[in-house]
């Protein structure tokens, strides 16, 4: 072979080698993107920066929920070789033996990475240590945030935080396992506003996961955005007052500002201290609360459907007026009740016959039996069933039988049966007489305290309401959600309310069913209810609004097994109204005797542990 040809063969090999290498390079760098993504994963560690969660304030600006910082002292065991251990021991007030124990414990996990050396530094130690910590390169202080509640009540309103569930992590990519999320109350429903937006810092790590500085010059870093502060519509003084009033009783209070739909307080009894569900004690306390036979975790105001009793008569009367079944002057006789064949609905002693206004004042059962049958047997409709459908439509416009749309989780829609239900029970052609008990709010009807309070608000507004809500404003710009600015019109015309309101005002005047608890100087319009129930003594119910002109508060009080509406619910509602309206005028002339009686009376039976069978 010619020698210069050999030179060209060698050159050819060089070129071939270049082609092979560049092709390989092309596949490694351009075609195979997996290397690129692996590089992102192997060389970096994402550090999530959690933004401070928003605080919650009451309507007057009082702090209800806030964040508290806890400080842990962290240590990187490998770096402690030339640390001044005596100085550290002195700062923390521990002995050398303890020091080595802690180091040993920390290095058990990974001696190159930081572990907790001293948990929850006392604040004094923290402030002192913070100034000198740079002298000890192996140590640093890590801040942890914990939630604190400024009050020991209102737990159902505020809710609590907890670790995200697996399902949430799967459904919402924002959350990672171990993240904290609102689990109940406002903490849950306003989670998106309160949580803020997580920031992240991507750091370069070596093969031991030690941080080497910023990854890709901070290209992927983002700053956290703090959670927004929330101004609740709750009046915390009223809330606390209500909780005191319900001590040793089972029941619920819902107070709404009628013009705005803002909820002033939601009191449930029994209640619990929200601080029980914070930090490390959470799990222990939670299971204890969950097993409590009185169900302190149960949000009665939103979830428990009670038979509304006579308070339902207001709704029936309004529907009757709107449908033209009655006029304000229409009278029905009452002979100690309503009889029809074998059916009898009892009534108490009062003059007869009564017109509409007086039927409210006296809470005449017979009147409403006639009225309801008039509604259902209205010849306008082809059948009782069609009339019933129309009637439920009215109810829905009141927010009854549907979820009202409050900004708290776990709301119940109450109980309003569909016509098919009655067809199953009474046969296809059931008659109005079959369901007559519903005319007085008994039987197949159940309203949550929230829905009842909303009825009071509707009457106060003469025909409309704004979806009740517990959050007044969100964030720095004090914005209110659009859905809580819209008026929801009921199907009742405004002029029909006048008779009802004057009837309600008579209820709270001497001679009315709640006449004995009237407040001097405040014109309250209310309606008592005494709901029979299968759980024992009647529930005491009262719904009201006040003052009559330009109402400021609409309220519903339910005291389980409290007897007549006037026995507990009405006085408690009156006290609440008085407290709310008079405190504004700076004259707490509360009737102390009544107050004391209400607070001290206990309706609780001593709890007997249920025998555990099986």
């Amino acid at each position: 072979m010619d020698k210069s040809r050999k030179f060209f063969i060698i050159l050819l090999c060089l070129i071939l080698l270049g082609i092979i290498f560049i092709t390989r390079l092309y596949f490694l760098q351009i075609v195979d993107t997996s290397n690129y993504y692996k590089a992102q994963a192997y060389g970096s560690n994402e550090i999530i920066i959690h933004p401070p969660r928003g605080t919650i304030l009451d309507r007057k600006g009082q702090l209800l929920v806030f964040n508290d910082a806890l400080y842990d002292l962290m240590v990187v065991p490998d770096k402690t070789i030339d640390s001044d251990k005596d100085a550290i021991c002195k700062e923390l007030n521990i002995d050398t033996l303890d020091y080595f124990k802690r180091i040993k414990k920390a290095s058990r996990y990974n001696s190159r990475q930081a572990s907790v050396f001293y948990k929850n530094l006392p604040y004094k130690v923290f402030t002192r240590l913070q100034e000198v910590i740079h002298l000890y390169p192996a140590f640093y202080i890590e801040e942890k945030i914990d939630r604190r509640y400024n009050i020991n009540g209102a737990a159902h309103l505020l809710g609590y935080l907890g670790e995200v569930s697996e399902k949430v992590v799967k459904d919402q990519p924002y959350y990672k396992p171990g993240d904290i999320i609102g689990i109940a109350g406002m903490e849950k429903s306003y989670e998106v506003y309160l949580r803020g937006i997580k920031g992240r810092r991507v750091v370069l790590v070596d093969k031991f996961s030690r941080q080497q500085g910023s990854f890709a010059k901070g290209k992927f870093d983002s700053l956290p955005i703090s959670g927004q502060n929330i101004i609740s519509s709750i009046d915390i003084d009223l809330q606390k007052f209500g909780e005191q009033l319900l001590t040793n009783k089972i029941g619920s209070i819902v107070a709404i500002e009628p013009q705005t739909g803002e909820i002033l307080s939601i009191v449930n009894s029994p209640n619990y201290d929200p601080n029980l569900l914070v930090g490390q004690e959470r799990n222990k306390n939670f299971s204890r609360l969950l097993l409590d036979p009185r169900k302190p975790l149960f949000n009665r105001a939103l979830k428990a459907p009670y038979p509304p009793g006579s308070t339902f008569k207001l709704v029936q009367a309004l529907i009757g007026l709107q449908e033209g079944v009655i006029e304000p002057s229409t009278t029905f006789p009452c002979f100690g009740g309503y009889r029809m064949g074998s059916l009898k609905v009892g009534c108490h002693a009062h003059p007869s016959p009564l017109d509409l206004e007086n039927s409210i004042k006296n809470s005449c059962n017979a009147y409403y039996c006639h009225l309801y049958r008039g509604i259902l047997d209205n010849p306008k409709y082809n059948s009782v069933q069609d009339a019933y459908d129309k009637w439920t439509e009215y109810l829905r416009s009141f927010g009854i039988g549907i979820k009202i749309g409050i900004d708290l989780p776990e709301e119940s829609s109450g109980i309003i049966k569909k016509k098919e239900y009655f067809a199953k029970v009474f046969g296809k052609n059931w008659r109005s007489a079959n369901v007559v008990s519903m005319s007085i709010g008994q039987g197949e009807v159940g309203l949550t305290p929230l829905q009842m309070a909303n009825v009071a608000a509707i009457v106060a507004n003469k025909g409309w309401f704004i979806t009740p809500h517990v959050v007044k404003n969100i964030g720095d710009y004090q914005t209110k959600l659009d859905e809580f600015l819209k008026k929801r019109q009921t199907m009742i015309d405004k002029h029909h309310f006048d008779t009802i309101i004057s009837g309600m005002s008579k209820v709270c005047l001497p001679g009315g069913t709640a006449g004995r608890t009237a407040i001097p100087g405040i014109s309250i319009c209310g309606k008592t209810g005494t709901a029979q129930n299968p759980h024992g003594k009647d529930h005491s119910i009262f719904i009201a609004f006040a003052p009559r002109e330009n109402p400021k508060i609409a309220i519903c009080v339910i005291i389980e097994n409290g007897g007549f509406g006037a026995a507990f619910a009405a006085p408690i509602a009156n006290l609440m109204i008085e407290r709310y309206l008079k405190l504004d005028k700076d004259s707490p002339s509360l009737r102390l005797d009544l107050l004391e009686r209400m607070m001290k009376s206990s309706l609780l039976e001593p709890t007997i542990p249920k025998p555990t069978t099986n």
Binding site: G18, F21, Q29, T33, D206, K207
Partner: protein, 445 residues
């Protein structure tokens, strides 16, 4: 005639460019993010600057030396190096499993780096001697002996990588008269070797037999070729059938695993499939291959290296910005795996440019060697080009996962004083010889 100084500036400029680029990459791979000193002599990138200066001085010394000195003292230098290697064998200090260092104060001298230089000189001297050619049993034996002696000594130091580099002299011998068929044979054996590891031996033989039968069918009555084909088949069969034994018995476990990893083979599976062969030859299965560690450990370097290169994409992350580089995820990145830094920080565009420049540089050396008028300079030039080419081929092929991991540096790029100085000496000795090409003309012809 007046003596002229005709150094090839083109090569010198490329040398400076490559060496500078090397220092930049060592800085990037070796420096930490916290350290902002440009020259920190505690760090290896700082030491490399010292080596650069030392190389500069040695380059100057080489250029100032009379060109006749190299021809004159070629055997002397060779003998000194051989003695040094022998001394190392006796009293070498251990370093990474290879006894390859002389410790002089705080510096380590690696004679095997200089052995290539000495071998190149000695081979050039022998084959360049008037009327000696790469022909005849005696001459061929001596020429091969010159190459094999330092090669075997390096191998005895357990420095397989450096020993393999002596294979590069086959290019020189090819240029000086070795038949190209030997290269073809070598290539054929490598292909058969790879196939035998990838597929069962009998399949490989079946394929070879089929090809040979088709070949015989086409050439028909040419007896000689038929006999040759049969011979090739018989030899191939012997090679293939003894390969399992050779592979497991002769190669060390880590070498076996590096080869298997390069060929994408599961190490454990391989040994299981060859269990019968192992028992047949009464060879014990190499230890330290528990299922959990073997493949991961031996593929770690290459995998990290590929990830690092792949992370560069089109244009790379830019100087000192390689995430894998900065995180020091590739072991030995500033030495043998320096190409990862280029791949990650300068991307496909930068790496391609680098490969092209380097090949142009090597090609230029071969070109210069080819134009030499005397054999000594030409053979030395070819040796220089071949050694650089071999290092380049192995090093970058290894970094890109094309070849098994063989720890040899990328000349002028990898960190290391001995390698930088020896390669600089090699190059500038040749450039010095080349510069006197004009004078040679008048002197010898």
């Amino acid at each position: 005639m007046e003596e002229k100084f005709h150094i090839d500036w083109f090569t010198v400029i490329m040398y400076i460019a490559i060496v500078t680029f090397g220092a930049v990459n060592i800085y990037s791979a070796n420096n930490t993010l916290e350290n902002h000193f440009l020259f920190d002599f505690k760090m290896e990138y700082g030491k490399q600057i010292i080596w650069l200066i030392a190389s500069g001085i040695i380059v100057l010394l080489v250029l100032l030396t009379d060109y006749k000195f190299f021809n004159f003292s070629a055997y002397g230098i060779y003998v000194i190096i051989i003695i040094m290697l022998l001394v190392l064998l006796a009293t070498g200090t251990f370093n990474k499993g290879a006894q390859a260092w002389f410790k002089i104060g705080s510096f380590k001298l690696q004679p095997s780096e200089f052995a290539k230089y000495a071998t190149a000189l000695a081979l050039a001297k022998f084959l360049g001697t008037f009327d000696i050619k790469f022909e005849g049993k005696r001459n061929i034996s001596i020429a091969l002996g010159i190459v094999f002696l330092p090669m075997l000594l390096t191998l005895a130091q357990n420095d397989t990588g450096s020993a393999l580099v002596f294979v590069s002299f086959i290019i020189v011998l090819f240029r000086e008269g070795l038949s190209g068929w030997w290269l073809v044979l070598g290539f054929y054996l490598v292909v058969i070797f790879v196939l035998t590891i990838l597929y069962p031996s009998l399949y490989v033989l079946a394929v070879v037999l089929t090809i040979i039968l088709i070949f015989i069918y086409f050439i028909k009555r040419q007896r000689q070729l038929i006999w040759l084909s049969i011979l090739v088949f018989v030899l191939t069969s012997i090679f293939v059938l003894s390969l399992d034994y050779l592979f497991i018995k002769v190669l060390q476990p880590h070498q076996q695993q590096r080869i298997l990893v390069t060929l994408n083979q599961d190490v454990d599976e391989y040994y299981e499939s060859k269990a019968s062969a192992i028992s047949l030859f009464k060879v014990e299965k190499p230890v330290n291959q528990s299922k959990s560690t073997s493949k991961r450990d031996y593929s770690y370097n290459v995998r990290q290296s590929k990830i690092s290169i792949g992370a560069g994409r089109w244009f790379g992350n830019g100087f000192n910005n390689g995430t894998q580089t900065k995180a020091k995820l590739v072991p030995e990145q500033h030495t043998d795996f320096i190409f990862c830094t280029i791949g990650e920080e300068y991307g496909f565009v930068g790496s391609t440019l680098f490969i092209l420049v380097y090949l142009l540089f090597i090609g230029r050396i071969f070109f210069l060697a080819e134009r030499q008028k005397n054999a000594f300079s030409r053979i030395f030039g070819y040796s220089t080009g071949s050694i650089l080419l071999f290092h380049f081929f192995i090093n970058i092929g290894m970094a890109m996962g094309l070849l098994p991991v063989i720890g040899i540096p990328l000349p002028y790029m990898s960190y290391g004083g001995s390698s930088l100085i020896s390669f600089s000496m090699l190059l500038f000795t040749f450039l010095k010889l080349d510069a006197n090409r004009v004078n040679e003309l008048t002197r010898f012809y």
